[in-house]
Amino acid sequence: MKYLSFLSGLTVLPIGLVIAASAQAQDLWPTFNGNLQAQKFSPADQITPENVHELEVAWEVHTGDVSTGANGRPVSAWSATPIFANDTVYLGTPFYRIFALAPDTGEVKWVYDSDALLEGLTQNILKSRGVAYWEAENPADGQPCQKRVYIGTMDAKLHSVDADTGEACAEFGTGGILDVNTWNTTNNKWPLSLFQPPTVFEDTLVLGWAGKDWADTVAPPGNVFGIDARTGDLKWTFNPIPADMTDLTGTANVWASMSVDPEAGIVYLPVSSPSPNFYGGDRLQPIPLASSVTALHIETGDLVWSRQLVHHDIWDYDTNAAPTLIDIEQDGKTIPALVQTSKQGFLYVLNRMTGEPIFPIEERPVPASTAQGEQASPTQPFVSVPEPVTDPEWPGVYWLADLAGGGYCSRTAENLVYEGPFTPPSLEGTIVYPPTSGGIEWGGGAVNPETGTYIVNSSNIVQIYKLIPREEFDKIEAGGTEVAGFFPMSGSPYGFELRAFLNPIGMPCWNPPYGTMSAYNINTGELLWRKPFGQVQQWGFYMPADWGSVTFGGPLLTSSGVIFIGASMDRRVRAVSEQTGEVLWKANVDANSVAIPATYTYQGKQYVVFVAGGNSFVAPGVSDQVIAFALPD
């Protein structure tokens, strides 16, 4: 479903582009995705496919902000993109502190402590995707806070800090702290957790948030806030849930990063699914903005257009990454486009001014639900070009896993429901491929705007979705105690069990590869290459390279044709050839680099920086390591 309501009102903003928009020219890395267009592209060309093998550690920092889950404190998960601006590398940690580092030595310039509550208020994990950077277009001489860094906390506080000194900016909110939860007025069941830093354009911060997934039927609606970057005043609120449905549902929030077309003044939101995530029988009315990519005018929050990517979402197919903005060349014409990745493995290539597809999107019939009360959508949108990152059918039982599990995999598969893509959750248990874990996760893709080569890493995961009647579920969670893998969806007739399809010794039951990297010519939609990426590491043992790895985190791409990426389940970071997909270099780090790396050039030298913080969802082991690589002098 598509909405177009504001295009005629667009104005080309005359104001000079902010620092993020001109990042490429200055070889900075001032935003979560490298630039506002979420291209994750750098013009840096000092490190090439020919010399990348010479990379060595330039500097390394340990922040001390790491938790193994001991002492009652939740385990940490660190997915911050290092930000390079103002001749400084800025990092937000999972303890919600900001580190300002010298870009050439890693020397700590200052540290800001938000004194955030380190408790699992919404998610039982201490999570951060870092910080955002802003600077005044016309800085006032001698005044503080003309350049700022922002960090959010799990308890819904947004902090504004002077980028030069690390002091709080008093004019922002109250003493430099904005309590976003004061705007959490509908279905206020938990705080609006600010794991993802805001998107910054000119003097506006666009702020989404994360919540407590899979817990409730009725939850806070996924309001997105436009905020004055200087004062913290609320400029606008965008609500994706119809007003007459807030008693039935909630969320459809924007928990991932966003992108901005600076010339059009449009912000693009990846909007997640409504609650409860796996049963929609109590929210049968259309929620057209849920599970969508949505364009808003950044100054007003007015809707420009929206395209729903999953109808009546009952798979938790959140749109989960900032769309990548790129101008596509077709038949001698330049088309302003975006590429929206998805958990369901499709790449939606749309005209970013109108939301109209550039490559066809086809509505195809999909299986009906067998759960009482549920009415699955009869059709769903499918994309054939570019070729999806996952196969249309689930990979089937892997003989080795079946053998190692004494036939468990094949026996289990026989008793599960699977009727192809978009098979609804069932009481018997449904094979879902790709599932809520992706497909493509929040790291999204990278594009070389000069060549139109689009790079994306993806996972081939099979999960089992099972609805459990309320009475039976209440026995499982007797006394309200949470049981791993079980989620209450309180207020609906069903609880829910979600688990990966593993054999008894923890081996995936489905055929490898478990993860790949793909390269496309985004002008034509042609798949250039696809290769298994990363390695599964179990108990320290590396599994065969052609199995690939599940990945969380994204790539970056340089103009010299080198892809840098962590993301895999092994504790390694890699450089990959844009041309061939061949791994050119790899290095060990302390934990999984479940993040997007950054690259920048400082005093004539190119650096590549990875955060290796780990995420227990991907693999055991956490760390507080920031590590920079560069060529020898």
Binding site: Q537, W539, G540, F541, M543, R572, N588, D590, Q625
Partner: protein
């Protein structure tokens, strides 16, 4: 060189390879940032190289006495060598399979007395 020479030196070569393998495994386990530090796999090869070392030492002390114990340990050592080499390969610890190759060479020399008796 007669058969007793091989009987005497075989466990020494095995023990030498296992000792070096043990040192490498301990370093692997405690060196941060090598990709396998602190992992159960790295711990496992510490245990297996230590077991090979101890078994080779026992065989050396037995010096042909209590042949059923020596024979059993001799077979177990082979399994340990092969298993540790495979584990080292999966851990991508390049030197560990090399040390197990040394152990295997020592183990094979231990077969010489048996061949000698068979061909006498």
């Amino acid at each position: 060189m007669n058969a007793s020479f091989f009987q005497r030196w075989s466990p020494c070569v095995v023990a030498l390879g296992a000792a070096v393998g043990l040192i490498i495994s301990i370093i692997n386990y405690f060196t941060p940032g090598n990709g396998i530090s602190g992992t159960p796999g790295a711990l496992l090869v510490i245990g297996s190289t230590l077991a090979i070392l101890l078994a080779a030492t026992v065989i050396w002390f037995l010096a042909g006495r209590l042949s059923w114990i020596g024979g059993t340990l001799f077979v177990l050592i082979l399994l340990g060598i092969l298993g540790t080499a495979f584990a080292g390969y999966l851990l991508e610890s390049a030197w560990l399979p090399v040390t197990m190759a040394v152990c295997l060479a020592g183990w094979l020399t231990g077969l010489v007395p048996a061949f000698s008796r068979a061909t006498a």
